[in-house]
């Protein structure tokens, strides 16, 4: 870890990085970033953006440039998609998080987005990392699906070393021998990151599980594990989604998740302060 000069706390009790975006402070507030996997059309994006805003999301996600497993899959709308996201931002006031896949696109995506996302497949794309290090727009760096914590932090170091101090880590599940879910969401990494790094970390249970039914419990678990936020895929009409249909959450389910997160967040604040809920309300242990 000695080469991680900027990404780690270096044994000291350094200040934690806090990144202000729009009305929220990433690293301080619990931030919910929601929206479609990809920008498919103006109507779909605006409808989803309005729905997540109404449910209380803090930021809008949506992909315009999509790195897909197959070259025959939907590749995203490109610059047109960025324009749609800009419109959604004007409509809802939500800051926009969107992926950048090509170093030549970095400056352009910065013109439209509030946070640049580097996807799991590009975590070790060093020319892309260096290019995002040259701007000041915050970068949400997803963990590579085969990467160790150390490798991940080295990638963050690339961005920091170029001069961009605004890096947000994002756990999105890794490949293990377990194949029941799309990926294995590694929530243990959250407190580990907190121990050795000052950078904020958010969790993406949508990709981390790939299964709609277990996204909610993993969101709650991420909050309890101390994550600084969650990144979640919401689609106004999941059946029609052009990408990652099985993990797209409909708006009503997202609304109910937001309520649960709100209550859990209050409970967690109490627990952290040492106020254990009274014994009458606490669940009874079964022997």
């Amino acid at each position: 870890m000695e080469k991680l000069r900027l990404a780690t706390c270096n044994g000291g009790e350094g200040k934690r990085t806090v990144i202000p975006v729009g009305d929220v402070r990433i690293g301080e507030d619990f931030v919910v970033i929601a929206g479609p996997c990809s920008v498919e059309s103006e109507a779909q994006t605006l409808r989803t953006a309005t729905a997540v805003k109404a449910a209380g999301a803090h930021m809008l996600r949506g992909g315009a440039f999509k790195p897909r497993t197959s070259p025959y899959d939907f590749q995203g709308l490109g610059l047109q998609g960025l324009k749609i996201l800009e419109k959604a931002k004007r409509l809802t006031g939500l800051p926009v998080v969107t992926e950048v896949t090509d170093p030549r696109d970095v400056s352009w995506v910065c013109e439209y987005a509030d946070v640049l996302q580097i996807g799991t497949r590009n975590m070790q794309n060093y020319s892309l990392l260096k290019e995002t290090g040259k701007v000041r727009t915050p970068v949400l760096l997803k963990r590579g699906m085969y990467s160790t914590l150390k490798e991940w932090l080295h990638c963050a170091e690339y961005i920091l070393a170029e001069g961009n101090p605004n890096v947000i880590l994002c756990e999105r599940g890794i490949r293990t021998f377990e194949t029941h879910n799309r990926n294995t969401l590694d929530l243990g990494i959250v407190p580990s990151v907190k121990e050795i790094s000052h950078l904020p970390i958010v969790v993406d249970p949508s990709h981390g599980t790939g299964r709609l039914s277990i996204i909610e419990p993993m969101c709650l678990a991420a909050l309890a594990a101390g994550a600084d936020g969650i990144l979640i895929e919401v689609h106004c009409n999941p059946q029609e989604a052009l990408c990652d249909r099985d993990q797209a959450m409909p708006p009503d389910m997202f609304q109910s998740l937001m309520e649960k997160l709100f209550h859990l967040q209050r409970a967690m604040t109490q627990v952290e302060r040492g106020h254990i809920p009274s014994s009458r309300e606490a669940p009874v242990a079964i022997h």
Binding site: D102, R104, D105, S107, C110
Partner: protein, 351 residues
């Protein structure tokens, strides 16, 4: 070539045909100013003769005849109706044209190549009005125009404050990653300097913003873009790569409307230009008069008029109907070596 690409070419040609027809109709209206009546059988005959000489196998005499009968009959109809022409500098889609439309949507804006052409056009009666920019919040005063205003006898009959939103325009098939250069008027390029720098685009000076958009559409240089109005995107079939690329939100240009008419209309703003003797306190004495009457000045600008002489432009809120304004003007006339009330007019703010 495939069908899709051929159709795109056809669309481009059609856009140019329409733009050329517009240009023709504007010329027809200008020509009317030099003719007693719309009808001119001799000219018509010569025109058809000239056109038929150019017949080809694809575009034969009969076809040419049909098209130009329609064009000439529309031209004559236009000449027979009353149109008020407004001259502006630049090509269609220029900010001056947007200002002219904001001032009066019923007028017909006519493009010219220089500010001098606008002034001369109004003076000679070719145009009823002229619209010229006088100052910009980011770029300062437009020297060329102000110099012409010093010497001109034209009246200011209106003013427009136009928020200037710049767009980066490119040919529809251009990949944004390949843009290396952006053409536009130096003032427009200066207003989005930071944007261009961030995206590593080299600014290249061009005579005007809309002209740059038109050149881009017609000459199709590789890796190039233009900085111009949103209206230019529609007019020249260009794609807007990014809207509102100006470095500061409040980018406003103020235009004045010039006319030969002498009577003042109802207004709430006045413009004067004056010179004073080269002595201590002469400018102060003029300003003192306006201050004494409690008149709110909105602009004061000095421009070297001739060696050793400065012309001062003064705009203020008020109407020549008001006694305090009339009295201030009268007093100011006495303490200046040259004094001209350029006009009392209404100023509108375009959205």
């Amino acid at each position: 070539m495939n069908l899709d690409r051929i159709r795109k070419e056809i669309d481009r040609v059609d856009t140019r045909l329409l733009n050329l027809l517009n240009e023709r109709m504007a010329l027809v209206l200008e020509a009317r100013r030099y003719k007693d009546q719309a009808e001119d059988p001799k000219r018509e005959k010569a025109l058809f003769g000239l056109l038929e000489e150019r017949a080809t196998r694809l575009v034969d005499k009969a076809f040419i005849g049909k098209i130009f009968e329609a064009i000439v009959s529309k031209s004559k109809a236009l000449q027979d109706t009353d149109h008020r022409l407004v001259g502006f500098q630049g090509k269609h889609g220029a900010y001056s044209e947007l200002a002219a439309r904001a001032w009066d949507p019923e007028t017909v804006p006519i493009p010219t190549t220089s500010f001098e052409d606008v002034f001369e056009g109004v003076e000679s009666g070719l145009f009823d009005y002229g619209v010229v920019p006088v100052e910009n919040t980011l770029g300062g005063s437009v020297d060329q125009v102000n110099r012409l205003l010093i010497r001109s006898d034209l009246r200011i009959v209106g003013a427009v404050e136009l928020p200037v939103h710049l767009c980066l325009l490119a040919l529809p098939e251009t990949d944004h990653r390949e843009i290396r250069a952006a053409y536009s008027h130096p003032k427009a390029l200066a207003q989005c300097r930071l944007f261009l720098h961030r995206n590593r685009i080299e600014p290249i000076h061009f005579s005007d913003t809309a002209g740059a958009a038109k050149m881009l559409a017609e000459e199709r240089p590789r890796g190039a873009a233009a900085v111009a109005s949103k209206a230019c995107a529609r007019l020249y079939r260009l794609e807007i790569l990014k809207e509102n690329i100006e470095d500061l939100d409040r980018n406003v240009t103020r235009f004045v409307v010039l006319s030969r008419q002498t009577q003042d209309l109802e207004g709430h703003k006045c413009s004067v230009v004056f010179s004073t003797e080269h002595k201590a306190g002469t400018l102060y004495r003029v300003l003192e008069i306006f201050a004494g009457q409690g008149i709110n000045l909105t602009r004061i600008e000095s421009i070297p008029a001739s060696p050793g002489e400065y012309a001062f432009f003064l705009d203020f809120l008020g109407s020549t109907e008001e006694d305090k304004v009339r009295s201030a003007l009268e007093q100011a006339r006495k303490v200046t070596s040259r004094f001209r009330l350029m006009g009392c007019y209404k100023e509108v703010r375009a959205s």
